[in-house]
């Protein structure tokens, strides 16, 4: 059986490696990677020091320590999804603005072209 620390350490290291590789390949911007690197650090932290979770759970009055882990994990994901939603909204706004601008500029081009054709006659 592999000790827990080795497993958690390997998991965190793999995640860090994956993120660095993605940055290297320009698949992930550095700004986004910060979040995931922080998550990897948390995995390493909780995995390598098993006593930490128990101590934290006792402090906040949770008797079954692993449930604290779930709470933290779900919270982390929830926040991330909310942030994604905010960014999606910003992008939608920009997309609409651009579409509106395209429509206006297209009309201007059409009008200018008609004007040119008429003056050419």
């Amino acid at each position: 059986m592999i000790p827990l620390q080795v497993f958690a350490g390997a998991l965190a290291a793999a995640m860090v490696a994956l993120i660095l590789w993605m940055i290297r390949r320009d698949r992930l911007p550095v700004s986004h990677s910060l979040w995931w690197l922080t998550v990897s650090v948390m995995i390493a932290l909780f995995g390598l020091t098993p006593g930490l979770l128990d101590a934290m759970a006792r402090m906040v009055g949770i008797t079954y320590a692993p449930s604290l882990l779930f709470v933290l994990a779900i919270l982390t994901l929830l926040i991330k999804v909310l942030l994604e939603d905010l960014e999606l909204t910003t992008n939608r706004r920009r997309l609409l603005r651009l579409a509106q601008k395209t429509a206006i500029l297209e009309q201007e081009i059409r009008q200018l072209r008609e004007r040119l054709e008429n003056s050419g006659k």
Binding site: W35, V60, L83, R94, L96, R97, A99, K101, I104
Partner: protein, 277 residues
């Protein structure tokens, strides 16, 4: 200990949010206050007679749009049809009838279409914008009545052409709920027949108001929030020629619409109260 963890998460979050926000800097110059900047770069084609433009959002209105456009032209106003990615011949029909046609490259929704028209109006330096449904529901002949209210001193910034008589049960329920939720004292909150002056247009074209979905409560709340005035005038409305109301033809749409308006109405209502208090 948990507090420390929360603080760490929050600070990371904050940083993530900041870095996300730092990116748009280059794009902003293009999107905001673009009427002025675009006006400086591209000389807008101005038409002195068209001080009032009539914006008609249209989505698959091929059957009625030409007639409405012709009537608007006959009245001496400049018709601008904003084609919300129709799949029929709306664009061609409107153009043949003599309208300026702005084509959206994807289905963007009715308010986004109207805002396109407003941005165009700003671009052309028009003084007033009238919005009208392209399906012949509103009589272009009543535009004068709306604008007439704006000609007098101490004129309102927005005039709504209201038709209380057209209401069926669904619509009446919606109106009553919306009035109650938003605190607006306007009977026909959902009318698409409206006139805006330049101050209102300048306010509503802003990027901040792009994500509104319908031209009704959300828009009126923005107007009121900016301390602009809105009044309504009773006008007759025709039964729709071919189109159907996209909101009031099914209960599920009404439910979504009410929920949407309830959220926008109640969340912005509080802000206004705080401001006045």
């Amino acid at each position: 200990m948990k507090d420390i963890a929360t603080t760490v998460i929050l600070s990371v979050l904050q940083r993530a949010a900041l870095t996300h926000m730092a990116i748009p800097g280059t794009i902003r110059a293009f999107s905001d206050t673009d009427a002025e900047s675009a006006g400086a770069r591209i000389i807008p084609i101005r038409d002195a007679s068209a001080d009032v433009i009539v914006v008609m959002p249209a989505r698959n209105e091929e059957a009625d749009v030409a007639d409405v456009v012709a009537r608007v032209i006959a009245l001496g106003f400049k018709p601008v049809v904003v084609d919300d990615y129709s799949s029929d011949g709306t664009r061609e029909a409107a153009r043949r009838a003599g309208a300026v046609v702005l084509e959206l490259p994807f289905h963007a929704g009715s308010w986004a279409a109207i805002q396109t028209g407003m941005r165009y109006a700003q671009f052309c330096h028009c003084s007033h914008v009238v919005t009208l449904d392209a399906d012949g529901q509103h009589n272009p002949e009543d535009i004068a009545e709306l604008l007439g209210l704006m000609a007098v001193g101490d004129a309102p910034n927005v005039v709504i052409g209201a038709c209380v008589g057209r209401a069926n049960r669904r619509r009446r329920l919606a109106w009553r709920t919306l009035r109650w939720l938003s605190g607006l004292r306007i009977s026909d909150l959902t009318s698409g027949f409206r006139a805006y002056d330049r101050t209102a247009v300048d306010l509503l074209v802003s990027q901040k108001h792009t994500l509104i979905e319908y031209q009704d409560v959300g828009v009126l709340l923005c107007v009121r929030h900016a301390d602009l005035s809105a009044v309504e005038v009773e006008v007759p409305m025709q039964p729709r020629g071919h189109g159907i109301s996209r909101i009031f033809n099914s209960w599920s749409r009404v439910a979504y619409y009410l929920l949407y308006s309830a959220l926008i109405g109640s969340s912005r209502r509080r802000r206004i109260k705080e401001k006045s208090g």
